[in-house]
Symmetry: C2
Subunit: 345 residues, 2 copies
Amino acid sequence: MSNEVILLAHGSGGRLSHDLVERLFVRHFSNPALLQLNDSAILNLSDLQPLTSNLQLAFTTDSYVVSPLFFPGGDIGRLAVCGTVNDLSMSGATPLWLSAGFIIEEGLLLADLERIVVSMAATASQAGVQIVTGDTKVVDRGCADKLFINTAGVGFVPPGVQIAGNRAQPGDVLLLSGTIGDHGMTIMTQREGMTFESPLQSDCAALNGLVAALLGATGRDKVHVLRDPTRGGLATTLNEIAGASGVGIELVEAAIPIREAVRAACELLGLDPLYVANEGKLVAVVDREVAEQALGALRAHPLGADAAIIGRIGDEHPRRVVLHTPLGTRRVVDMLTGEQLPRIC
Amino acid sequence: MSNEVILLAHGSGGRLSHDLVERLFVRHFSNPALLQLNDSAILNLSDLQPLTSNLQLAFTTDSYVVSPLFFPGGDIGRLAVCGTVNDLSMSGATPLWLSAGFIIEEGLLLADLERIVVSMAATASQAGVQIVTGDTKVVDRGCADKLFINTAGVGFVPPGVQIAGNRAQPGDVLLLSGTIGDHGMTIMTQREGMTFESPLQSDCAALNGLVAALLGATGRDKVHVLRDPTRGGLATTLNEIAGASGVGIELVEAAIPIREAVRAACELLGLDPLYVANEGKLVAVVDREVAEQALGALRAHPLGADAAIIGRIGDEHPRRVVLHTPLGTRRVVDMLTGEQLPRIC
């Protein structure tokens, strides 16, 4: 199919739409729920989950518009699966099922679409989730930029888990699962044409396994907040937590892991890594009793090898994030204002 | 906000993103699950549904790229809510929760976005569903066409319901809930600039109430297939049913309700109404024992006033749809090939 391109008729709902569904989506995403090919996927809860009287579902969605479609460490498809798996995981939920909605610009190479679909299938399989329902729309040339993907996700919240942005308490400890800025600086250097000289790679990864390891080590009720610092970076995520919980966050700059290449690229482009997007990292606010177990569990997992304790929750200056610099000074770190880079995810 | 437009920074994940969420989405979609404002909405199943041992969820998604954004009888927001409610309903599920993902072109008028969000909220409220989670991305000017919306939906399948495209059986009766072609011809005449002379209006509507009335009148096990004939029209939908069930469908042309204005517009534009999209109609394949009850239940509902029995399921010519014309001739009606009109939904 090397020269074939997507035509408007692939989005017609007619013969070519059916061919595309069979040839790409059914073939690569194949699973019993998807193969029903009805207007909805029908999912048996009781197959998967002992039904308890306080059964809770988690439900989330994100659209992905990243440019370029392919980048070191991932592609829009891998991002679309990981991002939604991560949003479910940050609620403490076990991700199970994803939907996939494709908005395609007429003229996209079918081979590029297939490469992305194959990447989504592999990522979903690694994360232990199934893509059970989908949709394809095609818009005329110039009315979209190659490809946008929406995924929504459904999972279960295990009994006893109560993780939410408003549960940080003074005395809690703040952990970060690894280096910051890898995804954002990879995309930026790609766009700036600095690719040849850069060893940067997106950290795009599904974090459900890491969350399961963390909850297993600490007990489900000791993890108070989980967030993945994507758009807006670590600074924005921490401001969201401080605001929702009405607490202050004391952040230790020297403790925040950053790769040298990311630091160098940030300096070159005049960017603060605290505001650069990540796609495979999490922030955890945990009871201080379990901080060391939490750190150990993160570091024992391949996706948390560089984990660190980066600060603590306080009760001074509520709703603010204060950065303690290596020079002994302090400054307030605000939420991202303006736009650093459009279409980072 | 009459002159304000969407900026790239509204999609940054930072301050302006938060403002937009508060000002539009939280304000108009307001419900407890959405107000959690975490990475996922947490939904208590046990509040809504007696937990049975064979609990089944329905899960579906669609993206909406219709152009123009506003049209007689609806807008892209109303379409995005109705379409996903209808996909859940066509599985016999009770729709409960929707997600909403917005992909916005920089420069969209904030007032237009708000008008659409208000329309989504009103449509969701009428349909008895909640928009519980969402996402906003902004792409630079020229990289999308004003606004695309994805909705995904989750619902429950009541015990005893077994509705699927492969359950049509010879002897079953085929019903249609009303006139065909209204949505598609409304969009087409808008685009052709025939608006001033046209009394056409989209049929865009949420069909969950109509399905509940139908199932209540017939018994849950007597309705075998439900489909809403959207993209590709009635002809494509019936071909899908014939293919999935391995049956033949005998369709009586004279029995298919069509408004005179739709017929006239089709003739003018050289289109076959059998292939024109609908957004508020359903096709039902029911046990012949309950055909009259089914027709009565549909006609008694405001969205089914023009319902009709339009054919039957046979065992001759499996996988084909045969149209019986008023002249006594027969012709095979195939699935849509090519593209009638891009961005009809």
